[in-house]
Point group: C2
Chain length 244, copies 2
């Protein structure tokens, strides 16, 4: 499995993904699930993937290849005029990859499925985010539904539901996401460190490379070990039940 979260704030977009892939419990490794394309000053596009690794790697490679070919007939990730058009392109490419993997004459296997969170900004439009399904269709982020999760989403959802605020700073959002990831990592072996992080400030059209958050990261460790105490304090704040 996988755990990725994309959040929209008033200030911009924040993405976080884990890096564990596994087939069973023996065969696991570290794989990047976050990919970014950037035309400085003009567009930033970030993609996070969950699902069959062959499918997601093929998707990213195809999108990447096509954006490098000089005389492509169709506009690519780096040329399409809006995020909506880019979401359509990613969706149709994803559908194409999944359908190519289907054995001839058989029904599509669910095991080739993958989901994608796509976010970014193209000059002339706003910073936005999409959740793209294996069927190639997608939904856009809204004020009522201001974050997307893919993969092992359940453990880390309650804290996001409770603590998300569109006015949050990037720093507080990263803290919140680390708590959500730490809760998931503590509960599920298929999600693991290191974590990839990307913060996109609205209208900046630039990507700031950030180091991976490794298991030895001091800040991650402080959040992980401090959260237990913080939660117990939070419980202690609540009124006590009275047993009759």
């Amino acid at each position: 499995m996988t755990y990725c979260v994309g959040l929209r704030l008033n200030k911009g977009l924040v993405f976080m993904s884990d890096t564990r892939t596994n087939a069973g419990v023996d065969n696991f490794s570290v794989t990047k699930k976050m990919f970014t394309w950037n035309v400085p000053g003009e567009r930033v596009i970030t993609l996070m993937t969950a699902g069959n690794l062959a499918t997601t790697q093929a998707l990213v490679s195809l999108l990447d290849e096509r954006s490098k070919v000089v005389a492509e007939r169709n506009p690519t990730l780096l040329e399409l005029p809006t995020m909506f058009e880019i979401a359509r392109l990613v969706g149709s490419t994803l559908k194409e990859v999944i359908s190519d993997s289907r054995p001839d004459g058989l029904e599509a296997s669910s095991s080739f499925k993958a989901s994608v969170i796509l976010g970014g900004q193209v000059k002339g439009g706003g910073a936005t985010m999409f959740m793209i399904y294996p069927e190639g269709n997608f939904i856009e982020i809204t004020d009522d539904n201001p974050f997307f999760q893919i993969g092992e989403a359940k453990y880390g959802k309650p804290i996001l539901v409770r603590a998300y605020d569109p006015e949050m700073s990037f720093e507080d959002t990263i803290k919140l996401l680390l708590v959500s990831f730490d809760s998931t990592i503590k509960a599920n072996l298929s999600v693991g460190l290191p974590l990839d992080l990307q913060v996109y400030a609205k209208d900046s059209f630039e990507v700031i490379e950030r180091p991976r958050i490794e298991s030895g990261d001091k800040y991650y460790q402080a959040v992980s070990s401090g959260w237990g105490d913080a939660l117990r304090n939070a419980l202690a704040q609540l009124p006590g039940y009275e047993l009759k």
Copy 2:
């Protein structure tokens, strides 16, 4: 779905279950999932069920019927000498019900499956708890694994992992369980109020009936509305991330 938790403390056992059953999203209702048998001064047995409703109702009815027949050849829930023997009886009855539901000549459908948390105490033994699988086998609670969850367990697990302590009072445990249930109810439509609660004080061999925790319950509402603030305060306690 369902959400049930059984916890072992040094002081005794605590059980909580929701009451929502649903087939799809249209057909939902309130159903009791917690059942208790008591021989005052001698034994207390509590059972919580998750899974196919026809299976779990048949299981409880069979266990109940057999314990009322006067001249049963085999000892029943109310006569078996240890909790271990009772777990074996519940396991074999569960397996029998599931296998009876299987259409002739077909493989067993997973949709008749059910899981059970069984806890209690029989005079001469300690207070203990078992998780019983559809196959009829089971595991016993240990110090390393001091609580069992069945049903929609993921949302409410992180808080249990972080805040459980065997030395907790019953009052604090109920508060903790309500937070775990509230996190689940806020995230998943298939788990819903009212909640059933049972607290068993070790070596008491008595059942204290408690009212259902309904959606209008003042204490539940205080925990539910207070938890958001408490969590935000907990996050604020953690050190801040420094964006470079």
